[in-house]
Symmetry: C2
Subunit: 232 residues, 2 copies
């Protein structure tokens, strides 16, 4: 059964009207009809079962039958990643990171970051589609871009990692990762973090990690990091 996004739905609602895009997708594209059961996700962990009472292609109305709160992730996984010049690469990353499982994505503005602006609505839609497609019920949070120094100093996660490309001592992520802890990992831009940025992070107690033996593009490094953090 398809899952539809219902961000405005209230916890105690008995009826709900899908927005125009969702109504069109549900009724016109997927051909759902009055009396069909559907699943709704509010992106806040609720899995809502409902039945279509008005299959209007612009304002599809459903009656809510039941609502279940899905278990929240045991620990928060956050990734701060420098967005790539090529927008499609970071959009791929957002889709894949959501599919695999991530709670927070922070666009990281470091000295060599070439891309600092993006269309939040467009990226938000990618996150929603990936959440629905992978049948999850918690929507990852896409934060405002943050400057490297500020984030590194202000973040208070109990486990903080940095993946850089300098040949210095690094341990594979899967060997240092403590699975139970809320975790932030920093992924640099094409051209890597500057030595000063890396020094700052290490001085702040960030643990340097390796993501493998090959040189990875920024979006690949991000996806590998999300995969390994989830696997731990």
């Amino acid at each position: 059964m398809s899952v539809f996004y219902a961000p405005e739905i209230q916890q105690d609602a008995t009826m709900y009207t899908m927005n125009e895009d969702t109504s069109k997708y549900c009724i016109q594209v997927l051909r759902y009809e009055k009396g069909d059961e559907v699943l709704l996700a509010d992106g806040r962990g609720h899995k809502i079962t409902a039945v279509i009472t008005d299959d209007n292609r612009k304002k599809c109305v459903v009656k809510i039958l039941s609502s279940e709160t899905m278990p929240a992730p045991a620990r928060a996984l956050r990734i701060a990643i420098s967005f790539t010049k090529n927008a499609s690469r970071i959009e791929w990353f957002l889709e894949k990171a959501t599919e695999i499982g991530i709670q927070t994505i922070i666009p990281l503005v470091s000295q060599r970051t070439e891309k600092e602006k993006f269309k939040p609505e467009r990226l938000q839609n990618i996150l929603v589609s990936a959440m629905l497609q992978s049948q999850q019920f918690y929507l990852p949070e896409l934060q405002e871009p943050q400057a490297f120094d500020k984030l590194v100093k202000n973040n208070k996660d109990p486990q903080r990692l940095i993946a850089h490309c300098l040949p210095e001592q690094k341990t594979p992520l899967q060997q240092v990762m403590q699975p139970a802890k809320d975790t932030l990992i920093l992924i640099g831009p094409e051209g890597d973090f500057t030595p000063e940025e890396i020094k700052l992070a290490l001085d702040e107690g960030y643990v340097p990690v390796s993501l493998g033996d090959t040189r990875l593009r920024t979006e690949t490094a991000g996806m590998v990091a999300v995969t390994l953090m989830n696997a731990c």
Copy 2:
């Protein structure tokens, strides 16, 4: 220093002429000139240092200074994956799998596979670009498409895994993977393998593995599998 692809280079060569595309890229795009040092990769493990003796933009000639054989991967990682209807998704997978590290990619033709034809040259170019970009020297082998039953029965790798979506007993890949062994993993199409296909693989001794708690698209499952196999 950029690495350029030199597939036709002979082991004992003292001079080499880049093909037209590579010459154009080296001389016209990257503005290399006579006297500049370059690195060449033949895709068979050789890291060749050379100097440009004729910066002709169509036939760039280099003099070979030294050749080093890079260590081959300790064990072979092979992935048989059903190609997706959407070509860009499988192209993305090929790029990422090469970056992360894979030795053999087998287009898998299972009962629900919707895509069986593709342009080998185009995909080959993606593998080459990803190999050079990630500074590796072994080009993954892209095999001919193979039928599921035939591959499952004929493959002789000591470790054979299948990632399917049925709710049956599966163990996380990273828990069953024996790192030292040559390994083949099977990744199914959108819509998964059929129960008959899964039964056949299990009867043949393939180990069912899970790639995480979320439902992954085919190309995402492939990328996650390659990442986890490499991390083990």
